[in-house]
Symmetry: C2
Amino acid sequence: MIEQTLKEAKFACRAMQLVDKDTKIEALKKIHDNLLNRMSYILSENDKDIQAARANGMRESMIDRLQLSEARLQEIAQGVLDVAALPDPIGEVVREIHRPNGLLIKQVRIPIGTVAVIYESRPNVTVDIAAICIKTNNVCVLKGGKEAIHSNIALAEVMNEAIKDVLPAHVINMVQVTDRQAVNDILNGIGLVDVVIPRGGKGLIQHVVQNAKVPVIETGAGLCHVYVDKEADLDMAVRIAVNAKLQRPSVCNAMETLLVHKDVAEEFLTKLKPEIERVQVYGDQTALHYLPGQTATDENYSTEYDDYKLNVKVVNDVDEAIEHIYDHSTKHSETIVTENKATAQYFMDALDSACVYHNASTRFTDGSQFGFGAEVGISTQKLHARGPIGLPEMTSTKYLIYGSGQIRE
Amino acid sequence: MIEQTLKEAKFACRAMQLVDKDTKIEALKKIHDNLLNRMSYILSENDKDIQAARANGMRESMIDRLQLSEARLQEIAQGVLDVAALPDPIGEVVREIHRPNGLLIKQVRIPIGTVAVIYESRPNVTVDIAAICIKTNNVCVLKGGKEAIHSNIALAEVMNEAIKDVLPAHVINMVQVTDRQAVNDILNGIGLVDVVIPRGGKGLIQHVVQNAKVPVIETGAGLCHVYVDKEADLDMAVRIAVNAKLQRPSVCNAMETLLVHKDVAEEFLTKLKPEIERVQVYGDQTALHYLPGQTATDENYSTEYDDYKLNVKVVNDVDEAIEHIYDHSTKHSETIVTENKATAQYFMDALDSACVYHNASTRFTDGSQFGFGAEVGISTQKLHARGPIGLPEMTSTKYLIYGSGQIRE
């Protein structure tokens, strides 16, 4: 049971809400400094995780995600300073209403409260989330993966040591147990947890969505589409498709399905072929005329590969592309490539995905690429936050109403 | 199983998203006209519900909520025209970002999608919600109480008849079965229901929060506080306290607990006494010196009475008032009465309730009193919507990103 941790976190929200801008910046600078000062301790704790991972036969690509180094820690510490320098959203007046009865109503940004984040192996998430939460006066409850437990406990300890004289107690809370029960306590924390954000694979996200009784921000599922229209600049379309698939296939904003207008299928796919030789293609009959590969099933069209695999489908028109996207997309990011602005706008208006592009790669769906400076994840749900989650999305609001004795008639 | 209804609703979102401003206004006017044209039919169906309610021994105050009349239907129809006349939030550009690489990023308001509302006896909710959803390009799934089933089916039928040549099919969906299974289908409708909003008593709201796997906007729980500071204008404090408790005790923005600074307890409570003779007081020892009543327990302080009952507690200072509110409030509405602006601002900054007032009655927490023109309910959760839910809160956003061939390096 981690109920005590959740209660301490919720209680800390009261004091944390009143911490001012400069104190938050001071706290973040102290975290930066202490991460550098305590580098050897953090690296030695990280090494315990790495050794355990090797002993358990973890894949090298996963060990790479887990491993810290001096250079990585410097980067992580710099990230904390970057968050400190961002515009502070707390206290911002979102709306001001003057009522005929003299009431002045101000809607202002406030912290959400207790933000619980459940994540997997990367220990940098521990520091990123803590920094973003401090900047937005939130209190965080961090539940990392068991593979990174020594690293995460060390990072939280070093951060808490840094802020102990500056911020209220229990602002950064690391869950030190690694069992599923701790996750379930968070998901059932009505009244204690204001939001839970899962960061990780599909299994984790589904578990949270299916079981949380507290509000969730769903992130990260990315089955993204590129549609090459009959009026596309085909060289541009090749560049965009290759970038969307191959610049970093493992991430959520990479393309999984390429839709091609039938009028340009031959020319476009012939141009594309030499650029995607490393990619396993799942295509419809027409696509497989021009590209080697296997016949695509509906399961292919519904799979987020995050890998060197790609679905290719030839469509009759933009409407068929839109229908296909509605039927298979996770509503993350979609692109149309066309020189026809009206067709582009129609595609952009008709879809309801978080990010819809005209003539650009889906790979830009990212907090830093949007200029947000920091990112908690990419929301693919409709409520509260959509697309990259930056600092404003980590806030709630309240109304302050200034009167002079008004009563309701 | 109402899965078919939910699928039809979800599919209707695609076409509904593209309906323009004028068409929505036309649809709402047709609903207004048809509600008046079909008045006798609606009233005869309503009469079936009234007769069933009488046969089942329903209280007269509940029957009053259920009953329609010509005058009430005219008012309901006028409400539809009022919604039609409100500013249209859909398509509004919330934010525009120009990136150094030439990308133009526009965040625009879009509909949420499928909005499911589960409510109790008042049939006017059927029309209010349908009108608000049409104005915001949302598709609604309405699940009313079984007491109002004939009225609700008739109202939905009359509205659907009105819009059949103007809007896509299945934009207004009335769930015609009255069993709990229909509610559970909605709560489990992952991928089909974008948000569920419960409107009704505590039991309904708790059931939805505990069981929904789809996103919820929690509404309506209102345990509101008035704090009378030592520097209050005591005559103003009496007016505000009386208004907050007695102007309409049955609603969520009425006061349940009165907190009084010890320095003014005697004078204030003596002034208040003759004004609240109809009210059952639960007080602490000091309060009961000046007011007749019973000793308050922690359970009293945690109860939303919605009735002629009031907790009264004498506190040592504003901090004790703030602590009491944090420990017992549903985060709906709280008021401080004081002439000291610094004390007022401290109280307003320290609390995180949806609405915090200075020198005004809590009864103003209401969409129409805020100037929103229409209201779906009062959100007491931190995510997405806080306080009165107006049209902008019934929207989501998406990013439209305009490029000229940009790819990520």
